[in-house]
Symmetry: D2
Subunit: 300 residues, 4 copies
Amino acid sequence: MTPSEPLTSDDRSYVITFSCPDRTGIVASIAGFLTEAGGWITEAAYHTDPATGWFFTRQVVRADSIPYAVDELRQRFAGVAAGLSEQATWQVTDTGETKRVVLLVTTEGHCLHDLLGRATSGELPGRISAVIGNNPALRGVVEAHGLPFSHVPFPGPGVGGAARAAAFDELAAQVDAHDPHAIVLARFMQIVPPKLCAAWAGRAINIHHSFLPSFVGARPYHQAHARGVKLIGATCHYVTADLDAGPIIEQDVIRIDHGDTVHDMVRLGRDAEKLVLARGLRWHLEDRVLVQGNKTMVFA
Amino acid sequence: MTPSEPLTSDDRSYVITFSCPDRTGIVASIAGFLTEAGGWITEAAYHTDPATGWFFTRQVVRADSIPYAVDELRQRFAGVAAGLSEQATWQVTDTGETKRVVLLVTTEGHCLHDLLGRATSGELPGRISAVIGNNPALRGVVEAHGLPFSHVPFPGPGVGGAARAAAFDELAAQVDAHDPHAIVLARFMQIVPPKLCAAWAGRAINIHHSFLPSFVGARPYHQAHARGVKLIGATCHYVTADLDAGPIIEQDVIRIDHGDTVHDMVRLGRDAEKLVLARGLRWHLEDRVLVQGNKTMVFA
Amino acid sequence: MTPSEPLTSDDRSYVITFSCPDRTGIVASIAGFLTEAGGWITEAAYHTDPATGWFFTRQVVRADSIPYAVDELRQRFAGVAAGLSEQATWQVTDTGETKRVVLLVTTEGHCLHDLLGRATSGELPGRISAVIGNNPALRGVVEAHGLPFSHVPFPGPGVGGAARAAAFDELAAQVDAHDPHAIVLARFMQIVPPKLCAAWAGRAINIHHSFLPSFVGARPYHQAHARGVKLIGATCHYVTADLDAGPIIEQDVIRIDHGDTVHDMVRLGRDAEKLVLARGLRWHLEDRVLVQGNKTMVFA
Amino acid sequence: MTPSEPLTSDDRSYVITFSCPDRTGIVASIAGFLTEAGGWITEAAYHTDPATGWFFTRQVVRADSIPYAVDELRQRFAGVAAGLSEQATWQVTDTGETKRVVLLVTTEGHCLHDLLGRATSGELPGRISAVIGNNPALRGVVEAHGLPFSHVPFPGPGVGGAARAAAFDELAAQVDAHDPHAIVLARFMQIVPPKLCAAWAGRAINIHHSFLPSFVGARPYHQAHARGVKLIGATCHYVTADLDAGPIIEQDVIRIDHGDTVHDMVRLGRDAEKLVLARGLRWHLEDRVLVQGNKTMVFA
């Protein structure tokens, strides 16, 4: 039994992610730029995708090793990026700026409980700005953690069209008011309309309770039980207009056996869902996930 | 995305656990008794330990299939057990009686958060009667869940003897007032004195943050980091007077690599600790864990 | 470093598997019968499937505890089974009788190498009677292990009808000459015709290199790479006329990342394929796998 | 079922590994050098160890992108390394040069079978030059694979001193004749003397059948059974004069339960041993393992 450990770091850093069509000299160019600035690199990862010929990198530099502010770093790095490729995609984030997370929930609380516990324990690399439910069931536990809960009522299944669109408009307005870095569908039981998928592209994260692409859509544990699989899983993915088909961030499985009913699978699967969502969200907030097409590069 | 599933079962059952030196006819005798009573067996597991020659079984019978009350079942089963062996150890529990759990904590909240979340989600096969801390740090989250929190102050490290004994007396009095089926040391930073280990034998459960028997004692993640292991783990075990050496209920590991600092290991290890404790506690509360000497039979 | 351990047991046992619609008294009836015979039960497992209401059991009895021969045990047990249900399905096998295994291969040797190594190390609960290839590539390694290899040529892809049927007739004749307990498709690159699937029902075992039901059919690793999954898997299942859809015996997965090409996945996946096939085959040969409909009960 | 895939790559590469005390500009310096040479980097990994302040990198460059031979690359890179630090440790290897592996065995063949199967399947990034046994038991399977087997007799346990030293001298002479990149103790039942540990430092790899540091020394499965652990493991490590305490390359575990005897654990553990050794050996041969003190950096 050991005493409690602090898990946060006071080491403020700049995180650079960059991608462009591969060519020689990219690493040298970026490393040369950082060296010239006196940058102390604490993490660096590279990947070239042979299928597309694109190069991806993520670099972490100690903020106190750069003699100017992050805005100037961005401005100067823009020049480096432009010199490497017109198609370059990049960003520079400052770990000193706390990321904002909005959670969307319905009635199942296990992922919410898990994320609230992590936030309280200082494990989340970000701050939960708000929790929004299309059902008021989880208000209590959210407010008990001192966080705002908002209930946006949705029409029942089968009721559609205008009422549903209006509910989503209200939801989007409330979400967007926080300008969040991540919008987490923590077992949110609504299919996000294409317009919102587009607006939240690369920021909306869903947890699906199957090992995708197995058991897309509704009631995946029932599907898994019917098929007689020996493992069940969970998948954390970016939300796209194509249901349960967005870029996969993280997956994991747990073993079941013939003695497990659908209810057992639901209960056991929750542990996989919680872990997979927590890992995927962490990597997203730490700018470790780069997306190209329907695939992710995860520099974990 | 599927609608929420109820995870609890209204099926009240009687759980029979029994052990004695192995001989022929034990299964027939127990099964014959249950059949005569009209008992509908929904789960049955058996094990004979070749080393000791003891036989162990756990049987679950639907309560509504037995035409008399649980007390009479116990009375009648006592006769069966006596007929099989004078050394027989057995119990009959009624799932209709909710098990009581007391949690002991200090300042690290991840296991507490996890168990509170499971209790709120209806996943715990029991009820948290109270949380007792030797530090007040976790009072807020406990009371936010509507549960009583009690602070029993302990003397600082190095201060000992009478003050520590008095604190443990107060702790024991508060714990015993709940007559708990499980006393969970959820990262409780005190070494339980032998007298209490004896009083709570088979009911006190600890979560140790290493893959025992590696890294017994203090600061196991530091020990693991120093040794350069590639996996770290957690162990859920019954508390005995021999530190970190009690019967192991459950263990699991997670992969780390050279890039993980001790702080990373602390953070990553928490997920293993939470899962291992939750599984071990569930099995204990469901009477799935039989102990002989320093080993457990887990009929999971 | 320890000295070599013998892994085989001289303990000859009878393995009873039995299933019928559930009712009270089944366990008592079987246990009573065995007790009367003096049977020493060393393993026993039970399962009732709530969906179908069927009961399944597997029991292992020491052969030397039964005072008569296995044929008489079968004869007497037939009476017990008939008394329990007209629909009862059961068998009694004698571990003293070595199970016969025929392997079907094409050119990929990893599963073959693995099974040959296990057979040589005394780990296989059976004997490899023959290896039959539709390609001669793997003849050398088979004969080096002192086992017979037979090449049954098949027409190329696209060539069909009569030539393919004739090749399968020849293959079936060679397989059936061994009256095997297991016919293992160890990366055998032919789709077995429905007639043979029926003739070999419950004995033909395939290893599919994906986590079924994901990526049914050809080139599953290519499919997995295209979808960007984070885990790949393997599935061991009984062969049925419905391609890759037979009852699943065992599954497992391994983690991959964005840096793994399809070729890496093929290489990494082989370890999952080898392990999953070896486990599934072991359980099949030890009569641990009971099948009902499209599901298996695995009393592992 | 898919056709066989080629798993080897014709892409010849140069692998640069480099370490020195950390300072700014290392990445820029190496990347600048490679860019100037026209080098096409296909893999790059970095790590700085906060405890020691050392920096480690591994870089893979396409051989056909460098306009001169590997010897000249080494000569030029020596200048870069010298410019960065007097303490720099580095090497440049050419994947066009096949690595040589010598296996040492006794009587247990499972790791040998596994490595022979991988070599035959083209999965090993190297060539098995010879297998040497202190027991002739495994000669047959080695020669069946067309590889040389040599028997170097050792004195029995308890017999020591001069006879054992002479046997090790003979063993060393035979091993060293191959100038191997890896000497694999594939369940070799002799404790290597300190002189040989020193001579083979960084090249001799052992597989220990426990999750080190648990159960050091003899009969680890017996130790694990006695302790009642719920997982058993295997550890691949570099051999040092300190028994079972060398730098750990790779570890893994498998789940067991109370029903598993020591013999079951021996059998089940073999799968962990095979996989862990195969992974560790692969990484070693691909120059992915950098060692500092008693720890490894594995750029897997």
